[in-house]
């Protein structure tokens, strides 16, 4: 794969001093890092990378950004800090973490040490602690774009895509030169968050330069298909020119699923899973298809497999929540739905499902409050109005129930008036 981010220069302000760091190139690599100080340019990648998921490739690369802060803060002559940096660079993460913490016990305001500690923690897979350290650093320096980037990457790695996207957006707003590095990550976040239109807007300008880059095409194709744009099929054809791949089958299966072509979609999605069982989203799409075919047990298994790869995957959590609710396992349903909500905070569909759980468990007041907010924020959400009507009736608020019922009915009538086209049920 030949996805190489152009180099960019950026500044960070650390502690009492100001350091100018030069970032190397952000690269998409099958197993590699993303942000690096190395001067090495990544000019091309083996086509084999086609079969490697983009998300892990992107997310595995985050930690380097803060690691390199050791160089940025080199003018701090503290031996303890130097020792920590040495350990860090030597790969002794436990030793480095301890040394950074020792140093921070003495110099709690050192942004350099805080940032490096976050990097070491992240590299050790201790993302929650890393996030905590980055956030502590941002309390001292809220507009530090490097910290925001690293925090965004840590959030990305832990599947908190909404929070990741917010940090990336903020970092780019503060330092526009980050735009190029962050575009693919941000687009990946948007895809995960269902914000396909924004992903398309980010990626479309790059199409001319990057068309043919499989990683880009996959991201772009996902965004186009998610947004319901016809260009998705063309992108699939472009990826096909690189040969058979799990990504192609996933995208094609997704398109076919949308077109209610169940048999073909099933073949493609099963092929995607067979070619690359770790391809993010493949199990989810297959699960969605199986649900439409009435195979909920197999759908459950598919969603469970997806969640084993990514416990925060939105759609699988949502569907598992709905399935659990269907079985009237309300506590389990709530767990899945709240996890989905963590990935897509404020998602109206998830909030609606949680309100339904409240209604089903007899918590009418909570259901009412949630649905009132939801219908205010999403006034066209017919089902939410319908359920709110039922809640009002149960609360003996007939006039309110009648009103919500009328709204719901009007919205559904409008929806029904839209031609369904020439398709089976």
């Amino acid at each position: 794969m030949s996805t190489a981010m152009r180099s960019a220069r950026w500044n960070i302000v650390a502690g009492t001093g100001r350091a100018v760091a030069r970032l190397g190139k952000l690269k998409l690599a099958p197993r590699g890092t993303c942000f690096s100080l190395s001067k090495r340019a990544q000019l091309a990648r083996d086509r084999r990378a086609m079969n490697t998921p983009l998300w892990p490739r992107l997310s595995k690369s985050f930690f380097v950004l803060a690691l390199v802060a050791s160089a940025l803060f080199a003018q701090q002559p503290d031996e303890l800090l130097q020792h920590a940096i040495s350990l860090h660079q030597a790969g002794d993460l436990d030793g480095a973490i301890k040394a950074y913490r020792d140093y921070l016990a003495v110099e709690p305001d050192s942004l350099q040490a805080r940032s490096n500690l976050g990097a070491a923690l992240a590299r050790a897979g201790r993302y929650d602690e890393a996030i905590a350290e980055y956030n502590l650093g941002l309390q001292k320096s809220p507009d530090n774009p490097a910290l925001l980037m690293n925090l965004g990457l840590a959030y990305y790695k832990t599947g908190r895509h909404a929070e990741a996207a917010a940090r990336f957006e903020r970092a780019v707003a503060l330092s526009p030169q980050f735009q190029e590095q962050v575009t693919l990550l941000l687009a990946a976040c948007y895809n995960t968050l269902g914000r396909y239109k924004e992903a398309v807007a980010l990626l479309a300008p790059l199409e001319k330069d990057k068309a043919g880059d499989a990683g880009f095409d996959y991201l772009y194709g996902t965004a186009l298909i998610g947004d319901g744009q016809e260009g998705g099929a063309a992108v699939i054809n472009r990826i096909l020119s690189h040969g058979d791949s799990a990504e192609v089958h996933l995208l094609r299966g997704t398109l076919e699923l949308t077109a209610h072509d169940s048999d073909t979609a099933r073949a493609d999605l099963e092929k995607a899973v067979a070619l690359n069982p770790r391809l993010p989203g493949a199990h989810t799409r297959l699960g969605e298809l199986l649900l439409t075919l009435g195979e909920s047990e197999r759908a459950r298994a598919a969603f469970t497999q997806e969640l084993a790869l990514d416990p925060d995957e939105f759609t699988s959590n949502l569907n598992m929540g709905v399935l659990a609710k269907q079985d009237q396992g309300y506590a389990e349903a709530r767990r899945y739905l709240e996890r989905a909500l963590r990935t897509r905070p404020n998602d109206p569909g998830v909030r609606y499902q949680i309100a339904n759980v409240d209604l089903a468990t007899g918590d009418l007041e909570t259901a009412r409050q949630s649905l009132e907010v939801l219908t205010k924020e999403s006034p066209d959400f017919a089902e939410a109005h319908a359920t709110l009507a039922t809640v009002y009736y149960r609360l003996n608020r007939s006039a309110d129930g009648d009103r919500e019922r009328a709204i719901s009915q009007k919205l559904m009538d409008q929806r029904d008036a839209v031609p369904v086209g020439s398709r089976p049920r």
């Binding site: 269907q326 339904n356 020439s422 049920r425």
Partner: protein
């Protein structure tokens, strides 16, 4: 008008006239079903005239009614059939409707022509409802059609007369009516009629839908929704269309099955109509000749996710014996069949999940259905006739399902344990529950597209006891439709049921009220609350009999 009053308030009819084929060698430990249709010589096959072109109504064909048209104590069968399309005429005998007289020996005689029920002039027929609308002691028939609907009066001599025109039962042009139910909504002693309508359709307005040269049956949303129609029985064979004044006219749906029950226990019958891809309707009787559509209030308009699915057949019975009728409807594969528990007559709670219906039902596309205590254990089980809309794949032909009620709390699938004839895979549509041999165990009659119907006799071999109650109204409608029955066994167990012929889809079942008693032989009391308001209590009733109860004078 003839009157046929029972000589005494209570009399016992004969039963156990024949045994089901195969009973001597049961296939399973519990009751199972054996198809006895092959033993009878009749022409009827459900024929929707599918010849390649897919006309929208073809998916709905094969209504069935179980009723005793000649009052010989044996339940007879009537089937509706399709028509030549696009002519929409029964141009060939293969499209005729069919009346089968129960000979009482396990065979049936085709008496359609003699009875005047061929329906040559009816076009494409769908549902059928049996009920004695004129209280003359003979069950009449109402048939839903594309084209004019038809009311047949039972002349009491084995023949029927088309009295539609005289009755005043009309409908808007091109209205496609699919199911009907008799009930007395104003408790005036005369059966009224509710008809569920699907859309406006003619062969000329039929739409063609398909992808890549393959034709599908169109999505229902391509057709307009319409109002269901209520006809008030004025007496003397006349009806008045009160659709608008009664509150039905403003609710537009795509009607399928109808379930009649007194959901809130106020003594007046309410109406549930399952709609296809449109929210379901629950019309609560306001006791003043009007109804209020209360699907939202009762929580049955949509499923638990606020979705309107392809609701098909419906039935309302008290599956947990708590004194309030519950509600069931089925729908298509991949959707979840809806079981709703009546919460004390105030609202319905969706219990498809906790009852296991959701998992049990997901592989099947259901049409007709109903609560049926097939094993006489006192718990009403759930039957569904199944088959895809369209013949589009290997799993389009489907077997029926029977979910056994476990202590009124949950259901388990026993479909594969009730005989090979039950497990027949097809495009099943209509179904009726009826005790054809009066042995106290409900039998099943099921239609299937392109096939002869199955007449599935219950092996009745588990030794459980039962009671069949044949209600005869005096102040109430003669069928006693709407009467609520409460049975208390010797051990104090209480069982509930009510009189209705309407269940499932396009179908009409045995009006006699069935109670399974399990191992109990003693019935402490049987309380009947008649539509007239009269409450009649019988004490120390013997089990294992068909008990005819005539409404007390007061």
């Amino acid at each position: 008008m003839r009157r046929w009053w029972a000589g005494a308030a209570v009399c016992v009819a004969g039963y156990g006239l024949w045994v089901a084929a195969g009973r001597a060698q049961p296939e399973a430990k519990g009751p199972h079903f054996t198809d006895i249709a092959p033993k009878s010589d009749f022409r009827y096959k459900t024929d929707n005239n599918f010849t390649g072109r897919k006309y929208f109504p073809q998916t709905m064909c094969g209504g069935v009614a179980a009723f005793d048209f000649d009052n010989d104590g044996r339940m007879d069968l009537f089937f509706t059939n399709g028509a030549k399309l696009p002519e929409m005429e029964k141009t060939d005998p293969r499209f005729y409707n069919c009346l089968l007289r129960n000979r009482g020996d396990g065979t049936f005689e085709d008496v359609t022509a003699r009875a005047g029920l061929l329906g040559k002039d009816l076009g494409f027929s769908f549902g059928v409802a049996a009920g004695d609308y004129d209280n003359d002691g003979y069950e009449d028939l109402f048939i839903c059609n594309a084209g004019r609907n038809t009311l047949y009066h039972n002349n009491g001599d084995g023949t029927f007369s088309d009295v539609t025109e005289r009755s005043g039962i009309t409908k808007p042009k091109d209205l496609l009516s699919v199911a009907a139910a008799w009930f007395d909504y104003d408790n005036d002693g005369k059966l009224d009629l509710i008809v569920s309508n699907y859309t406006l359709w003619t062969p000329q307005t039929d739409k063609v839908c398909g992808v890549n040269g393959q034709e599908y049956y169109c999505h229902p949303k391509i057709y307009p929704s319409v109002a269901h129609r209520l006809y008030h029985n004025l007496g003397n064979g006349r009806f008045e269309d009160v659709t608008d004044s009664a509150g039905f006219g403003k609710e537009l749906g795509k009607g399928m099955g109808i379930a009649i029950a007194d959901f809130n226990g106020d003594g007046y019958m309410d109406v549930f109509v399952a709609n296809d891809t449109v929210r379901n309707f629950l019309f609560i009787n306001q006791k003043n000749g009007t109804f209020k559509e209360s699907g939202y209030e009762w929580g049955v308009a949509y499923d638990e996710n606020g979705n309107a699915h392809s609701s098909m057949g419906a039935d309302a019975k008290d599956y947990d014996n708590d004194g309030f009728p519950d509600l069931f409807y089925n729908n298509l594969k991949g959707q979840i069949w809806g079981l709703f528990h009546n919460m004390g007559g105030k609202y319905m709670r969706y219990v498809s999940g906790m009852s296991h219906i959701s998992r049990l039902s997901e592989h099947s596309s259901g049409w007709s259905n109903g609560f049926i205590d097939y094993n006489n254990d006192g718990w009403k089980d759930l039957y569904s006739s199944n088959g895809d809309i369209d013949d589009m794949g290997q799993v389009s032909r489907q077997p029926d399902t029977l979910f056994e009620n476990v202590d009124g709390k949950e259901f388990r699938d026993v479909s594969t344990q009730v005989g090979a004839d039950f497990a027949h895979a097809g495009f099943q549509r209509g179904s009726a529950f009826v005790d054809l041999n009066n042995d106290g165990f409900p039998d099943l009659v099921v239609t299937s597209l392109f096939e002869r119907p199955r007449i599935l006799m219950n092996s009745a071999d588990n030794g459980n006891h039962w009671l069949l109650v044949n209600t005869v109204g005096r102040r109430s409608n003669r069928d006693g439709i709407g009467a609520a029955l409460k049975l208390t066994t010797g051990s104090g167990r209480t069982l509930y049921n009510h009189v209705t012929t309407s269940d499932g889809f396009m179908s009409s079942s045995d009006k006699r009220v069935h109670f399974g008693l399990g191992s109990e032989k003693a019935i402490e009391s049987l309380e009947i609350r008649w539509p007239s308001g009269i409450v009649q209590t019988l004490k120390k009733v013997k089990a294992d009999q068909i008990l005819t109860v005539t409404e007390a004078a007061k």
